[in-house]
Symmetry: D2
Subunit: 293 residues, 4 copies
């Protein structure tokens, strides 16, 4: 549970999102709703799920209350303690501090920036970090700082990863988005960013892992191509899946046409995953995700 | 709240579905979850929604408990009374007594019967009632009683409606499904079956109301055709929508080809709506439906 | 048939698109393919359709040849004359001169400009014309001239339409795109732009014509919302449909959330329609469109 | 090219489907359309494709003519000979002689039989052959002969395969459909049925090959599940793909619920593939299929 003092809302603020995970058992909902009542709160949205795979209970609540963070936390404390809950309390709509990693492809970065600007994506992007300079103007248009460092060998790759970690620290980054960043992260970096780095893979996983998925898709003659947003792990393209979409294609499409057709699915799949994550709708249940849409 | 003594489960049965509707306000979830705890229950599924249009609160719970109906009702009584709840308690999976009305088209009836037999649709169908005899063998294959009465004029139409109402009474019918029944019900019958009759309309409503929707769709040159399952009201094709699906078509399809293509969407849309209704997942909020999928 | 001298391809250019419409009859394909052979051409893509509604024959060919426009036209002349064909010959991939009309909404304009820049949309946009100034920077970023004129009364509305017509003339515009331009065009302007103006309507037509379709959709409780790209005619939202898409929504979405959700469908539906039009894939068959995808 | 004397149409029959495959080159369309003209024919449907992977040209025509098979073949002979075409001429709508293999699952068999009966699937099914007896009544209801032979060991499996081959011979079977037949065919049988056996696999291939794909899909946490109809080859689940569909699922679905949800996609995907094959719309291009929808 990270506490973010700087973002504690003023007295007038009163819409909270609460997520919690614990071992399932009777009385949890009653205990939590009791704490909400005690804090003068009203539950405006509530979703729950019990995993039969892991025996864990997952819940996401939105709560309206005049209470501040301290009061609400105090009311919740006995319950979360009793059930050893993994929990998180945040203000609904607070922009998530998000670092974007990119290479040359513009479509995913463009979609993220456009939607952030349009007020449809609750993120704050302090930096776009790329191994190419080609997206500098795009970032600039949206007023987002941009930095590029070439990655050409092991040393420059290591330097890039150091830069990533420094940026995460400098900006207190909560989410790292690989928006068609075409480098494989080292196991150490994957570990450091576990549970807070999202990648978009340009295939319908688990089909066509690794390089050139559209070429693979063309060769196999699939009738639908897709995109998969997933958490980054050191096991390439095997991280927990957050969202997937597909689009129909036919025999007449070349591999390079598939690349163009697939871009829409990539953009909207990644943006959707980032939006859900920023709204605290994505919880991890082992190798699977719980999505409280 | 209808009580069904004959279906009160034995002591070993312990999975309940509870739906409730009331004016929204603070503390409802806590009060209900408290009643569940008092009855020794565990909430295995929970969904809620507050309608900003009508100010009403909707909830659906699945509850596992060793308590019988009496105990559970006793525990809930103070809460439902205090909040003047419209509520319904039933056994999860109990087959809903469902009357099917048909004409000559087989696809929707076939889908309902096949799925009921396959254990995927929790309904008991005591009778298929048709204004034609052509589906007799199909019903017979699935062991479902079938009766046909010709509808050729006002008198025979009235007689058919009398037969419908008698069947509803005889079999204590909880749901009437118009599975491509090609007669318009009288306002009186619509009134009598309000909230418990579902029709499938072969268009994506509100487009192409009334007769020959596929002909209308062809003439208008739409690129998607659809089907809509909705509650029957006396206002033709204007009842609350439960489910809709569409399928892509192109210029090369004639109106009669649209008829064939659309059948899949009709079947699956109607069956889906019936399934949700039978599982107590469909609640009415004025002219709209709440679907707790 | 418009001849565009300035764009006649150089000798090295040899990929043509040919569309033709005529009364159906035997031997047309043979006659046309004979003309192609005579011009030393190879057919790389071919689609045809005979409309049973209007008895007309539609064809789209892509032809590779070393022949120039004059030679190809000479070879085709006897055939198109004999069958009184409505025909059009163009260079594959030539950017269509496209005027964009906009108001305040950015998503459709952004999608058009981004894809044009990304090389995925064969249009040249000489001007974005708006009744508001808010999209000036966006157009500027993509290097597209932008002009705004307020529309506040009948006189300013008339002036705006005069400006549209002048822009069409100045830039020899082949297509006018109403990218969420929130003004109804006068019947005279609709007439002047007949067959070369495309609008995006934010509903699944013919449902929810006119103003505030998302509010209508919310009130009606539909389970899918959509967008429709269609030719502009003086009969509001009744022009021939080019493309439609839908997306699933549920009861929990407010009318304003539908607005946000629907934007994706609007953008991609409009861009798709523009792309097909620019590629000569959209032919008119009365009130319906033939789309040679 | 198989000639089916018994099915040569009477003089009044005059709607033909012609498919042809050859090395691409100039003048093919003109030559073929010339032969059609020579036979007094009119082309009512035409699709073509040139594969850049294999350099082959594929075409499917529907031709209306008063000419009989002999006349049409005579007119086509010089062209198909000159271009060494692999070709096939058949009567539009002629029911394809189709052997159905099944095990215990009813949904695919039910869909095939229902649609065949409803006149939506141009097949004649002389026999359903199963390794279980449970679908006997279903086949019987549709008037289709049914035979079951247990498969419990290598010997009974071999006997079953002998029975398949005998049935193919006896009924001059043109297509073998594995409608959730849960046995792996021997390499020899795959070879014998090459290009005329279609299987439905209950996953979105190439993901989740082999056994228990829904269990694999649940474990991997995919957000869409699917079904794939493909030609049977000795390389398990690797045959050319004919059709695929997917349906959205979420974290709340158990592996066994995925089984139920996926059945719809399996049925419609398999039936669609069989329909296209029976209509001569499926052509092979190496490991890929050309589908002339």
């Amino acid at each position: 549970m990270e506490f973010d003092a700087a973002l504690t809302p003023p007295a007038t603020q009163h819409h909270w999102v609460l997520t919690l995970i614990c071992v399932d058992g009777p009385g949890i909902v009653h205990a939590i709703s009791g704490a909400v009542v005690a804090a003068g709160g009203n539950i405006t949205e509530s979703q729950q799920f019990t995993s039969h795979d892991t025996g864990r209970f997952f819940m996401r609540l939105q709560i309206e209350t005049h209470a501040g963070r301290d009061e609400l936390e105090a009311a919740l404390a006995p319950v979360v303690e009793k059930h050893s809950m993994d929990w998180r309390l945040d203000v609904v709509g607070r922009p998530l501090r998000t670092l974007v990693l990119a290479s040359t492809a513009a479509h995913c970065v463009n979609d993220l920036l456009f939607r952030q600007r349009a007020g449809q994506l609750p993120v704050h992007i302090p930096l776009v970090l790329s191994n190419h300079g080609s997206l500098r103007d795009l970032a600039g248009f949206y007023g987002v700082p941009f930095e590029s460092l070439p990655v050409v060998d092991a040393a420059s790759k290591a330097a890039f990863e150091v830069r990533i970690l420094r940026a995460v620290e400098e900006h207190d980054v909560e989410l790292v988005v690989l928006a068609r960043y075409m480098q494989i992260l080292s196991p150490e970096l994957c570990e450091a960013l576990a549970g807070r780095a999202i990648n978009i893979h340009h295939s319908f996983l688990p089909g066509f892992k690794g390089a050139n998925p559209y070429k693979q898709a063309h060769a196999r003659g699939v009738k639908l191509i897709g995109a998969t947003a997933h958490f980054v792990t050191s096991d390439l393209d095997e991280g927990p899946i957050i969202e997937q979409n597909v689009v129909r294609v036919d025999h007449s499409r070349s591999a390079s046409e598939l690349v163009a057709i697939g871009q829409d699915e990539e953009s909207r799949t990644l943006t959707q995953a980032v939006k859900w994550f920023a709204e605290d709708r994505v919880l991890l249940d082992g190798a699977r995700t719980i999505i409280f849409r």
